[in-house]
Subunit: 339 residues, 4 copies
């Protein structure tokens, strides 16, 4: 069985994991108070060209979203997101579990816009309604699309005008950085108040790095981490891996490999005149296939059944990662040609 | 600087980490649906000699306690624990954050007894009070002592009589298993409803394994894991490490090393007529020292200042682990002799 | 200034309040353990013709919805409601504050249907999503419309097929009972698992009566009430008022007066060819007016600006109650004719 | 059966309830935006001689404690209280349900002291522990005793030194004001950051008035009220009753009556050489009786069995209120003499 199922099929990049085992006997301070946490923090400050940046390390995307967002909000404050947002549909109510409402806006190709945010704030105008305080976006989005720099500038502007924090879910930010090299980490750090740089989906066994300019948030976020079971005793292990992921832009090398394999799939499917559900911009490809085609493909490939279009057609999601082999891609072409 | 600070100073056992890196390219199913999770689950069922046992994997002790206990309780139900319990004092209010009260009983050497539990239940007898439902104990306790088999049997009995679940925090269960070989994993599984077998403090970079006979709990615990950000995409990585930790009783080999170093410290301190705050039964040793002695020792050693006894004396905690070297122990003897 | 603002402008029905003051020196047991609570409970069992019915008394609609719904749900379980549902838009995130997600369906005249509920359940099919468990409806709806008996039967059916509880917000149930006499309290008790009969909006200073067939829920709901500060020491005062509200169908007399005044408004506005935003079926009337008309009317009348239609038109809400005087209605006609 | 059970046995003061019914047809703005709320707010500002005072109205003590305290705290912040505190033992875990830990100090006659608070803060010194932020006291205490002015001054001082808020549960504050006339409402408002003035236990059917100097808290507390179902539509009804309770110091007249009846009981019991569990300072009297005496008394009187002393003796609680009749008191004397 070949996997085009997701970008977290392997334990991680072999080089990084080998380096971990090489220093397994080294003694370190616990709870992210050690040398590697300090080093990676400096690396990020330099890359973002901002000394007020702070970093924090968590283990998973859902944990990161839930803890950061709840730390940014009072109980009656809410999050504005796309209806397709990961926090709104695929995190089992983690945000609500910590007490907050998500006000979901209808999205366009996975994206929301400044005007809809403004209208949403206008409507939430008295004590009977929640009070929007954070705008949540994902880059790339959950449907594989990308916000342009202009779109991000407009979101920044509407947030400034309405006293909203802008938060970016960067589970696949490595892919975004590799795809649009004009949108650098420094630019994200300028445009966004708090975001995370995902490790799990680009080479690490686990680990997500929160990057924030919000110093009030940074001051007591470790209490939130501890209280929610996220302050790992051996946190240096995660910090060390991020240090290695940033070294020589390894994250970009891995993301480029993922994008290259996705690009091959895209070109092939375009030639085959397959209908795309969303514009294929990164390593997630959403296509519309006849149900019997889906069934045949599923005998050799694992992928995600995204949604039913109608009685005859289904949207499926194909995902590549740095670990997607040429063999898998070629086998997909072969199988598809033989359908 | 030498470390007698805790049992989580190194990333983990080199063999296990090397084996992780060796299979870093292997493709696995996500979210604990893969082969290694199945294998370790079978290993534990066999060791416990019980086919109804289920296992779950989390990343940290605080996370494990909070998620398991909240999954066992309705909002108005409470936990009975020792006042010295980790959940009561050292987890930053994680239990309360998920909505539950801890009713703390005065402990004796870190332990609680059946009679006090009975009285506690008797007092909580109407709708104005919380309703005790789970008894929380730690083995070894937070102060390094051990419940005997008889004590555990009595706790089991009082729980059965009052419809209480018995939960055991096994952050250092490996040490308990190595210390009292008569109390096997099978016995713990017989006596306790739900417990965890800690990985972080005995050889793994992270990872705690929940072992439960409670099938209602097991049925939907993954929802709790997901909702609280604990359902790791690459969970197989954790399951694999536990498989290796159980293989050839490696966990016991590691724990024995920890106990051996603790035993050397204990003998030395006994000979020196140092006062022990708690009976030294495992790898945590609590001693009472003059303040100036504490200050001198702290120039060469990292350890925990546990509490002030009075204006002149302080309790300190010394902890050993499998990674505690003979050099560290010998240097401690030397420094202490030179005081 | 005349009020067509809401149905809670006066302290309550004079008769009922006088009867309260008449027995103000009577000694009663506290916390809803007294004689009046027993009496009203029997009254409701008889009216519903069901001995397994239990009643509970709370002070406000938001409190009632939040406590009942959270008592019905495990943390990962969710509520399906209309997007226009009171809990979704006008209760300041009270449901989310207690940890639960609302999955909002697009409504039609404030109502949801069985087919959309089925599709919603089908999509929520794995551990990454919340698990729908309760369907929330309001009767009358938040936009003044009514579910027909057939519609309720279909909702009952889809709930039975998918193991969902059906919950009805009856903040204005008195009006519903008065409007459609064919849908008796007994029928509601047959069709719905748990609902409430609102007092605040129909004659009482405060008070909402929960009516439930769910005996598991009833068994421990008082713990939820106490824990959330809703178990009033002098609860008999509320129970007594409900007893008087039910006596000789006083609730119906009051609701009929409200409906009569609404009906006058409706007829007048129909004759004036005013556009209705929603079918005017009860005591809430939603009409579309030019902005300048709204401004002129607002000089003499208090009403709710519901939403903007476009740059020129606005939806306003007019509400009548048993306390709405003929003078107010006539003055409205006069002012409107003079516009 | 005669009641010495509690101070909430009757619906309320007849005068006040009659005045409510007299204006039952008056139209008012909802949600505490009306005339009576403004009036009572001015009355309190004047009595406290502080223009920055704000008032809020809730329905019950548990609700008040839970909402105010949770509004004062971030998730990782905690409350310091006596172990005998109402929030710690008699509110069914309401504080924990909203996410916060109570750190309970051993009390002396229901009171805590500045030194123990200081030590408690000192121990909570890192990210693994909750962060104490509010000190909770009750006046009178749950065991009927009173903090002196000096004791309150010392609590104020330790709070100022450690950046703690001082909160006072005034469920029976009317009795405290009547008992120690030197400790005026103005003095309480000077010494305490936020407190409440209880209505339920001194003449109202329900209602507790929060009085606060904390303007940050006041700014958004209505959101907390709404979100927790406490923002009553007809809140003016509660505000009006408080206005009447303050008019001509009616609250004091009522409390004096309660104290007078308690004083009679106290004198009688002292003469009888009955042992008092706590110094009898207000309207709650705790005495130690032989078990058979308790049993005989309980045939004619309702009172609270407080706790077992040993196999032969029991502590019972006797409570008086403004509604306790001379007949009840005399009958108690008679029965007791006949034992």
């Amino acid at each position: 069985m070949e996997y085009l199922l997701n970008d977290y099929t392997v334990f991680g990049d072999k080089d990084i994991l080998t380096q971990v085992s090489n220093i397994s006997n080294e003694i370190n301070d616990g709870y992210y108070e050690g040398q590697y946490t300090k080093q990676i923090n400096d690396v990020i400050k330099n890359l973002c060209n901002n000394k007020n940046i702070n970093t924090f390390f968590l283990t998973a995307g859902t944990q990161t979203n839930a803890l950061v967002l709840s730390a940014l909000l009072k109980p009656y404050e809410a999050i504005i997101s796309a209806d397709t947002a990961h926090i709104n549909f695929l995190e089992a109510g983690s945000i609500e579990n910590l007490g907050h409402k998500i006000v979901a806006l209808q999205s366009n190709n996975g994206k929301i816009n400044a005007n809809d945010i403004k209208n949403c704030v206008d409507v939430h105008n008295d004590k009977h309604k929640v009070c929007p305080k954070v705008v949540y976006i994902s880059q790339p989005t959950e449907v594989g699309t990308m916000y342009t720099e202009n779109e991000l500038l407009e979101l920044r502007k509407v947030c400034d005008e309405h006293n909203l924090q802008l938060y970016l879910d960067g589970a696949r930010l490595c892919v975004a950085l590799a795809k649009n090299k004009n949108l650098t980490l420094e630019k994200y750090a300028n445009l966004i108040d708090t975001f995370y740089f995902g490790g799990t989906k680009n080479g690490l066994p686990l680990g997500e790095m929160v990057i924030t300019k919000n110093t009030d948030f940074a001051k007591d976020f470790k209490f939130y981490m501890k209280q929610n079971g996220a302050l790992l005793a051996k946190g240096e292990f995660i910090s060390f891996m991020f240090l290695k992921l940033l070294e020589n832009n390894k994250y970009e090398t891995l993301a480029n490999k993922s994008l290259k394999q996705a690009s091959k799939l895209q070109t092939f499917l375009e030639n085959k005149k397959v209908k795309f559900k969303y514009p294929p911009e990164t390593n997630q490809i959403f296509i519309v296939l006849k149900n019997d085609v889906v069934e045949k493909l599923s005998k050799s490939f694992k992928f995600t059944i995204w949604e039913k279009c109608n009685n005859n057609e289904t949207v499926i999601r194909l995902v590549t990662s740095f670990a997607t082999s040429d063999e898998t891609i070629n086998k997909f072409f072969e199988e598809f040609n033989n359908l």
